[in-house]
Every structure is written in C-alpha cells, then in structure tokens.
C-alpha cells in the first residue's frame, strides 16, 4: 500500500508537469484560476466527515477553503456532495474506481472547483484528478464491538506485521465498509481474506453506530472517525489494529486547473509558515499530533 501511494504521487507529478503545457495549448478551461476569479466564487465540494467537514458550517477543510478563497479574493461557497459523486462533481465525468478514465466516463455537470473533505489520496483518484500536497495524515483501522471475541493485537515494531496480524483475525467475521471510499475493503485486499465483507452505502459517521448495533462484528474506520467514536461510545467499541499503511489526505483539483492548484500550494505553504495550519489542527484534531507525531513535527511533509 505504501509503495502504491508513492507510485501515485509520481504519476501525479508527471501529470502536473504535462498539464500546464496542455492548458496553455488549449486555452484555460472553465475551472482554473482565471475562471474562479472571473466568477468571483470558489466552489468547495465537501462531504460531512469527521471534523474535516462537520456539517455545521465549519470544519478543518471548510475553514481552510474559506481562507483560500479569501486569499484569491473571491467569495467562498460550500457545495455539499457525497462520496460517489464527489469526483464526478469536480471533473464533470462519472468516474469511479471501476471507470477511472475521464475519456470514457459519461459527462455530468461540474459543481465545484475544489474537493477538500478529508479526501484520501488513493491511486485511482489520482488518475483522474490532481492532488495537492499532503494536507492531513490518516490510517484505516479495524474496529470491533466491545463484546466481540476479536481482541486487539499487541503492537509490534512493524506496521506490515501488525496489518498482517489484523487480517489474520478477520476470518469468518463480518466486516463493515463503504464502497468507493477509503473504507472500501477492496482497497486493502480484504476480499482475498475469509472475512465476510459487508459493504454499505452509508455515511462515515454511521459506521460506529452500526457496529454497536450489531450490524457487523467488525468495521473499517479511519483514525479521525475512530477517535470521535471512542469518545462518544466509551467501552462500546474497540480498536483491533491497523488495516492500512499510513494514508494521506489532500485537496483535489481538476487536472485542467493547474493555476488554481499552484495557487493553493502557495497558500498551503504560507499557512504552514505563519502558523495557520497548526492552529487549525489544534482546533479540529488536537489528538492528531499524538498519533502522527512525525508528520506534524516535520511541518506536514511526510
């Protein structure tokens, strides 16, 4: 999984070099920086998820995009979407993990200029969109109900070894996941295990309640949501162990919007320098530096 992410990043870098040339040859597309400034509004595609987009008008990514819009000198506008539609709403194509091809996908209306909603930088996503630098680290864990016979692993000094131990515990147990998201079990090869995969179209914050209610014995959940769930239902759920390498979240742009992408990179670098980024982390994910100390002590560069 770690190697795959590196490969995706290489592909993105290559595309980033090629896309400006293409944009220059074909003229600036409708979603790039000039168009945003021309319209006077930055449309932020987001999904209520953990403290990235709380659904109450704030959140880590909401506040970050508000500051970005102010930096561009345009109005901020939040456009709510869901996980299946988030990339089609950005790219104007009905792309999916199964059809990660912009040319072949059916056209759909473009609803936003940027996706910032704790979006994990997955490989297939990187093939259809441009990801920014890493904005936030994450990881996917396997959780179980408190009464589950599956017991948390004893951590070793090796993450792959811990992942293998977790996978070994999944046999014959029902595992809850969400398709087309970072909680899609197929992203982690769980279809190859003996676990009973229960892929639902639910929101991320519904995973823990479903788990407690006995919909499944196990569930996939990212670190951010797991933290919230442990606080909400202490003694009801437990973390078995990791199922993924450390993942990275980023802000997504259309591939034909290199100027907007560049502008965000500049803005993000400035946010790291002036302390804005640290302030947002402390506000929305104060525990994150505890679990990912190396990321946050390195200034967000993994």
């Amino acid at each position: 999984m770690y190697m795959s992410t590196r490969a995706v990043a290489s592909i993105c870098a290559a595309l980033a070099l090629l896309l400006p040339t293409a944009a220059a040859a074909g003229g600036e597309a409708g979603g790039d920086l000039a168009a945003v400034k021309s319209r006077g509004v930055l449309r932020h595609l987001g999904i209520p998820y953990a403290n990235f987009v709380t659904g109450s008008g704030d959140g880590f990514d909401v506040e970050l995009m508000r500051l970005f819009a102010a930096r561009l000198g345009v109005r901020y506008e939040f456009v709510e979407t869901d996980w299946p539609a988030v990339l089609p709403d950005l790219t104007g194509r009905s792309v999916s993990p199964a059809l990660a091809d912009l040319e072949s996908a059916q056209p759909v209306p473009i609803r936003g200029d940027v996706v910032a909603t704790g979006l994990t930088m997955l490989k297939w996503r990187a093939s259809v969109i441009s990801f920014s630098s890493v904005v936030f680290p994450t990881q996917v864990w396997v959780l179980a109900r408190a009464g589950s016979p599956v017991q948390p692993i004893k951590p070793s000094q090796s993450l792959p070894q811990d992942i293998a131990r977790v996978k070994a515990l999944l046999d014959a147990h029902t595992l809850l996941g969400i398709a087309k998201t970072c909680l899609d079990p197929t992203l982690y090869g769980l279809e190859k295990t003996k676990a009973k995969l229960a892929v639902r179209k639910v929101r991320l914050d519904e995973i823990a309640p479903l788990l407690i209610q006995g919909e499944a014995e196990l569930a996939l959940l990212d670190v951010a949501d797991a933290m919230i769930a442990l606080q909400k239902w202490p003694g009801k759920i437990k973390v078995i162990g990791p199922i993924s390498e450390r993942q990275e979240m980023g802000v997504a742009f259309r591939k034909d919007a290199p100027r907007l992408h560049e502008a965000f990179e500049a803005f993000l670098a400035e946010a790291h320098r002036d302390g804005t980024y640290r302030r947002l982390v402390q506000k929305y994910f104060p525990e994150a530096p505890v679990y990912f100390p190396d990321f946050f002590t390195s200034g967000g560069r993994s």
Partner: protein, 870 residues
C-alpha cells in the same frame, strides 16, 4: 548695649523659672499618662488576642474551603467521561499505539484546563498528572519531563487527602479505582500563590505570619515560615483550639529569650492540617511590665529636663544672636543710606560736570563771539569765534576795549570801555580791528555778572559780525536811492515832455502862420531848438530811469567795440591812448546796439574828462562766470555766464564818497558847464535795463575802472525791452483831403488845444476829451468817429483801455496813442491791431499829420462800401 543686656537679663530670669516649672509639670503629666497607657495597653492586648483568635478561625475556615474545593476539581477530573473512556478502552485490551494513546488526549486537555483556566480565573494548580498503578505517568498537564511524584511517600500514603510533599508543597493525591481496582492516581500540585491568596494580605507580614502545619509539625509555605524568623519548634504543641499561647525561645548569644504569641486552629475538613498565626509578643502588645513603665517615666522626665535646658540655652543664644543681628542690620542700613546719598551726590556732580562741559563746549564752539572779562574789562576768556574775529589767539589779559574802535582810526573804543563800567547791559555796534588789519563791524552786547553780594565781578561780551550785513544794507540803500531817483527822473521827464510837446506844437503852429519875412521867426526857431535840447535831456533822464525804447538784438560784443573804436578815438582826442583787449570765444549778448554804443561813448568821455593831461584808456572784454557769492556782491540779477566789458583809465580816481554817487543824475565833479551829470547815470540806466550790472573800482589818484557785466545770450531779458513802434517819420504820405472826425483825448490842456487847432487846420472835424472817461461820454454822443488820438497815461481811464472801448464801437477805426514814455503803450495797451500806432512825445506835427492821414486812408481802403446808415 548695656541697657539692652539688662533688659534681656530681666526678661530672662522669670522666663527660665517658668520653663523649669513647666518641665516639672510635664514630667508629672507624662508619668500619669504612662500609667494610664500601661493599663490601656493591657486591655488592648487582651482584646487583640481575642480578636486574633477569631481571625485565625476564619482564615482556617477559608483555607479548608480552598483545599476542599481543589480536591473537588480533581474528583471531577477523575470521574470524567474522558478518563472513563480511557480505562474502558484499556480494559477492552486496546493498545496504546492503536487507539488508547488517542484516548489520553482529551484527559490531557482537561488537565490543562485546570492548570490554565480560560478567562481571568486564577489557576489553583501548578501541575496535574495521572499516574498508573505502576507509578508511571500516563498523562501530564505540563510539557517536559514530569516530576517523580510517584515516588513521594507522602503522596502514596495520602489516601486521597491533601498532603504536604517531601519538598514542602501542598498537593492533592487522589487514587483512581476502575471496576474496584486501583488503576492509578491523580496528583495535583497546588500553586503556592493560590494558597497564599487565601490568607489575608494584611496579615501576611513578616512580623505576623500564618503558617499551615501538618500533623508532623512541617510548615507551609516554606518561605512564610522562613520569613517569620525563629518560630518556636514547639509550635506544634500549641493546642489547635484557638487559644492564645505565649511561647518563649532562647535567643542566640546572651540576649533575653524571644517571646511569641501563637494561635493554632484545625483546618476544617483537613484533619492533617492546622493553621497557626505567630507573632512576636513585643511586636503585638509591646513590653507591658511595671518596671519598664518606671524606666520609661524616668527616661521621659530626664528627656524633658534635658530638653528644657537645651531650650533655655538655645533661647539665650538666640537672643544674643538676635541683638547682634539687629545691630548689624541697623549699621548696614546706615551704610546703605550713606552709600545712596554718596551715589546721588556723585550722580549730581557728574550731571553738573556734563552740563558744564556741554555748556563750555557750546560756548567754545558758538558762532557768536563770546568773551568774559573781569570787573575792569580785562579779558579772561574768549571763545574761538571771538579770537577769530579779533585775529588773535592769546587775548587773555588784554583790555577788551582795546580790541574795539568806535570808528576807523581810533585805537580804543570809548563806547565799549564805558559799557564795561555799567551795571546794566549795553548794546551797540562797533568796529573791531583784527590783526589782519581789515576792520570788522560787529554788534556788541555786554552783560555785567554780579556776585551774590551785588558786586560786578565779570562782564560777558557777545559780539556778532555784521560786516556783510552792513555792506548789503548800504548796497540796498544805494540801489533804492538810485531807483527812487530814476523813478523821479522818469516822471519828471514824462511830464516835461508833455509840456515840450505843447510848446513845440504851438511854436510850430506859430511858425506856420508867420510870413517868412517876419523877424520873430528866428525867436520861434530858438524856442524850437531849446525844445530839442530839452527833449534830449529828457531822453537821457528816461534812459537813466530805464524807460527808453530798446531794440535788443544778439550781438558779438567784440564786433560792437571794433565798430565804434574809430569814433571813440575821435571822441577822446589825440592825447589819450585807447587800447582794446578783446577776449576770445565770447558768448553773444542780447542788447540794443545803439544803447551799447552810447554806454561806451559815455564811459570814454568820462575817462577823457578824468585825464585832462592825457593818459591811457583800456577797453577790454572777457567772458566770466559769476558764482553766487560774486553775483550777490555785484548785485547781478543771477549767477551765471556773463560778458564783461571794462573801461579803465589812469585818471584822478575817486574817493569812496564820490564813488558812491557817481551814477546819480546831475552829480558831477566837473566844473560848471563842463558836464550835465547825466552821462554815467545814462550808462547805469542802460545797463540795468539790459539786465546787466555795472561796478566801479577806483581810488584817488589810482584811476577808475568801470566793469559792465552783460548776461551771455540764452538768458534773454524777460522784461523792459520792447520793440520800437513805427516812427512817425516812417509814415510820411502825401497830404490829402481831411474831412473825417478825429477824437483827441489828452489830459494836458495846452497840448490838447494845440492838437485840436493843428488837426482842425488840416480840415478834420476834431472832438476833444480831457481823459478816458470823458472820451467815452463823447463817443456816446456822436454817431461816427474815424480816428482816436489819445494820450496813454490819463486819470480815470488810460489810453489803451479807451482804445478797446473805442474799438468795440468802431472796429475798423485807427487808433494813435501818444506817450511821454517808451513802453507804456505796448505794456498796457495790448494788441490793438495793425491800424494802431504809437507816437512818442514830443512829436513833429508834420509827421503826426501824415500818420493820421495814412491810417485813415488805409482804414477806408479796407472797409466795405457804405450803403446806408439807418
């Protein structure tokens, strides 16, 4: 001084007694007050101690509340959901790496909220930790390495109570149980500042200390205990029931033991702790022993007596010093007054010296000559002007009268000598003879100076040089005399000419009526010759009176001299040499040539007559530039450029008296019949009328030189030179018929009658009038008059004015004005047109008749033909 000392001694004795008596009274009073104070202090101490006990109780209650409240904060933390979540997760077997560590983050946040509360709420806690059952720190509110509280025996054995740690700090140690098992312990270290804040600040002094004691006698805070000094070690033995207990503790060295008053009260809710307040007994209530009071009384009495002695000494010393100071001030005042008087005197002297110097300077430099003599008239002082006037620099010691003379030739002025004996001022005009020899006319004023006794001690002489003033006065007088003579001569000549005109008219009329064989014709001719000589005489008089007719023109004066030189040689005869010295580049002059020639002839004749035995006459010309002073001396009309003509002879010369009269008409030094006395008068008149000036230089036997200054051309004379009217001789026309009416106006009756008769004989119809006003009346009575013949100068209405009236009625009729002068007609008549003429008296009637005829004919030719006069 002696009297002052005695007064002070008299005043001093009773005052000292009063002071001593007052001192004793004060000592008694102080003793009584000390006694009262001692008793009052005892009561105050008792009250204070009782109050102190209550205070300690109340503060113990506050401390107990603070500690209880702090314990409650830790209990809330321990029972929080975050702590429960952590232990639930841990109980589910979760690892720290995967999930459990994240559960500690909210606990840490709550701990930090206790240590760093939001807003202005003061923090009670310095640090909060959660220690697991193995003594390891799970979560800590602070950064950095946590303190090893898990090893502190006092904390471990606290049983959840407030404890005093091994290092003397107050802490709360709360064991945490999960599902009945001891799983950890919360340890919260109280911030010492927050504990001290509970204690009243007013009592938190170094000499009055609150301390918290635990059951082992350890004190908190350590710094408070240290500041309170040597707290008795037996403080813990004081019962914790609020009673005041006095403790004593041996002081280091040989000093008396220290006494303390202590109160101890158990802190409610904290059975391990009590609150004590300790004060030094002397600080709180002082030393209240009776012996101390007696000592204080003796000390106070001694101090009072000592103060009284000191006051008496200082008072005496003050009086002596005050007396010396008064004496010093009085002397200083006297000195200041003398100094002021001296300064005023010096200032007055300086003012007088300045005034004297100014006065002396003014007198020394005055333009007036000022001298001072003694009572005998001997000069003692003379200013610069006086010395300059006298021509001597050293006049002191000389009689003043010797310097002045009443008239030339006198060595001493009797007038001044007499004036310098008078007791009243004297003023007169004297002549002073300077050392240079030239006399100076001075107006002298002498003033006697009297002493206070009335005796004359000095004379002041003030003399003013009036030489120039006198010369100008004489000159003016001479000019006015000549002017008056000229006016008189002109008037006489005018009237005489009227008479001559009448005589001549009648004589000619007689001659015309007499046959050629009549022997009386010769007599009539004699009359006419006498008239002719008289006319010449009157001409000279008119010339002297500057009333003759001039015909000025621009002339080169050298040319005039040259043209008349031959005639002049013939005039002076062969025994006199005539030399001419003509200057070069002379400016032209604007004069009547004939009159100038007349001047030269008259001066040559005068020179000839002055040299009966022959000699030399020099006629010279030169151009001169008269400066203002020179022009004023010569009485020239104005400074400027002049041409000077000089005639110098070697004749007998003239004395001053003769020289001053030579221009008077009829004054002559020649024998009877040799001169008319009008020659030089004529010269004077002509020169004056030509805007020139004549000056004569002569002395007896030194010849005479006449200098004539004529203004260079360009400065043409503005007045007195009139063009000559056409002469009667120029109007000769053939006689013709005479039938016109002629109005003759003449105030001289004889001349009027002669004219009427002559004109009537010519055939004219002659009307007459006695003067201008009469003529106007005549004109109003007749319809037509063809010609007006009128005198110029007449009473009531003059000839020119009459002519204008006449012309209003008869615009084209000719007018003839007759005058005994030369310029009157033109000056007063104005422009009468071409048909007017001026005739000088006496006239030749034949010439007048022809002039009348010519003017009438000319007027008739110019007039339009008469048609009818209705």
């Amino acid at each position: 001084m002696a009297a002052t000392s005695s007064r002070r001694s008299a005043w001093f004795a009773p005052r000292t007694g009063v002071l001593i008596a007052t001192g004793l009274a004060l000592a008694l009073l102080v003793g009584y007050l000390l006694q009262i104070n001692y008793r009052s202090a005892l009561r105050v101490r008792d009250n204070l101690l009782a109050q102190r006990s209550l205070h300690v109780h109340s503060h113990a209650l506050a401390v107990g509340h603070f500690l209880a409240s702090s314990s409650e904060d830790i209990r809330y933390l321990a029972e929080s959901r975050e702590v429960a979540a952590f232990y639930e997760s841990r109980d589910l077997g979760m690892s720290m790496q995967y999930g459990l560590a994240l559960s500690l983050v909210p606990i840490r946040d709550r701990m930090r909220a206790l240590v760093q509360p939001k807003g202005e709420t003061p923090s009670r806690f310095e640090r909060v930790e959660l220690i697991d059952e193995n003594g390891r720190v799970l979560v800590d509110s602070g950064d950095g390495e946590p303190p090893p509280w898990g090893d502190d025996p006092h904390l471990v054995t606290s049983g959840g109570k407030v404890v005093l740690t091994s290092d003397g700090r107050l802490a709360i140690a709360r064991p945490h149980l999960f599902k009945g098992r001891l799983v950890g312990m919360f340890v919260a270290m109280l911030r010492s500042e927050s504990v001290l804040d509970v204690l009243p600040k007013a009592q938190a002094r170094a000499d009055s200390s609150f301390v918290i004691l635990d059951e082992e006698g350890r004190r908190y805070p350590p710094e408070r205990a240290k500041a309170s000094g040597d707290l008795p070690a037996r403080l813990v033995t004081v019962p914790a029931d609020g009673r005041m207990v006095e403790l004593s503790e041996a002081a280091p060295g040989r000093g008396p033991p220290a006494r303390f008053l202590a109160v101890r009260v158990a802190i409610p809710g904290q059975d391990r702790f009590s609150l004590a307040q300790v004060d030094r007994a002397t600080d709180l209530v002082g030393d209240l022993s009776p012996t101390a009071s007696a000592v204080q009384l003796a000390g106070a009495t001694f101090a009072i007596i000592l103060a009284l002695c000191l006051a008496i000494y200082l008072n005496t010393r003050s009086l002596v010093l005050q007396a010396r100071l008064d004496e010093s001030l009085r002397r200083e005042k006297e000195i200041a007054e003398k100094r002021d008087a001296l300064e005023r005197e010096i200032a007055e002297r300086e003012r007088l010296e300045t005034a004297h110097a100014v006065l002396a300077m003014a007198v020394d430099q005055a333009a007036e000559a000022i001298a001072v003599t003694d009572a005998l008239g001997v000069l003692e002082y003379a200013n610069a002007a006086f010395e300059g006037m006298a021509g001597h620099a050293q006049l002191r010691g000389r009689p003043a009268a010797d310097l002045f003379a009443a008239s030339a030739g006198e060595a001493r002025s009797p007038g001044l000598a007499q004036a310098l004996t008078r007791t009243t001022p004297w003023k007169g005009e004297l002549s002073i003879r300077s050392s240079a020899g030239s006399p100076v006319d001075a107006e002298v004023v002498t003033s006697p100076v009297q002493s206070r006794a009335g005796a004359i001690v000095k004379y002041v002489i003030v003399a003013r040089d009036v030489t120039e003033e006198k010369r100008l006065r004489d000159q003016l007088r001479h000019s006015q005399k000549l002017e008056a003579i000229g006016t008189l001569a002109g008037g006489v000549a005018h009237d005489f000419r009227n008479l001559l005109a009448a005589i001549k008219a009648n004589a000619e009329f007689c001659l015309d009526g007499m046959p050629s064989s009549d022997p009386s014709r010769e007599d009539v001719h004699q009359i006419l010759e006498a008239v002719a000589r008289s006319v010449e005489l009157t001409r000279q008089l008119l010339a002297f009176g500057r009333r003759q007719v001039l015909k000025p023109e621009t002339l080169e004066i050298n040319g005039v001299v040259a043209s008349v030189e031959k005639m002049l040689r013939r005039t002076i005869g062969e025994n006199i040499e005539l030399t001419t010295r003509l200057g070069e580049d002379l400016s032209p002059v604007y004069v009547d040539r004939g009159q100038l020639e007349q001047v030269l002839v008259n001066l040559l004749v005068n020179a000839r007559d002055a040299m009966p035995r022959g000699g030399r006459v020099v006629v010279s010309t030169e151009g001169v530039l008269l400066e203002e002073e020179e022009a004023r001396m010569l009485e020239a009309p104005a400074p400027g450029e002049y041409v000077k003509v000089s005639v110098a002879d070697q004749g007998i010369g003239m004395d001053p008296v003769t020289r001053s009269r030579i221009f008077e008409p009829f004054f002559t030094t020649k024998p009877q019949g040799k001169g008319t006395g009008l020659g030089l008068a004529t010269v004077y008149g002509i020169v004056q009328q030509s805007r020139g000036v004549i000056n004569v230089r002569s002395a007896p036997n030194e010849g005479a030189t006449f200098d004539i200054y004529l203004p260079a051309h360009g400065e043409a004379p503005p007045v007195a030179v009139v063009p000559a009217p056409p002469s009667v001789a120029e109007c000769r026309i053939p006689s013709a018929r005479a039938h016109e009416t002629v109005l003759v106006v003449e105030d001289e009756a004889q001349l009027r009658a002669a004219l009427q008769r002559q004109l009537a004989s010519e055939g004219y119809h002659v009307l007459t009038a006695t003067d201008g006003r009469d003529a106007v009346a005549v004109l109003q009575g007749v319809e037509h008059v063809e010609l007006l013949l009128s005198d110029v100068v007449m009473p009531h209405l003059g000839g020119p004015e009459l002519a204008r009236v006449f012309r209003e009625r008869h615009p084209n009729a000719p007018v003839i004005l007759m005058t005994g002068y030369s310029d009157e007609a033109v000056a007063r008549g104005g422009d009468l047109g071409p048909s007017a003429a001026l005739v000088q008296k006496p006239y030749d009637f034949r010439d007048l008749a022809q002039l009348v005829r010519r003017l009438l004919d000319a007027a008739a030719a110019a007039a339009p033909p008469l048609t009818s006069v209705a």
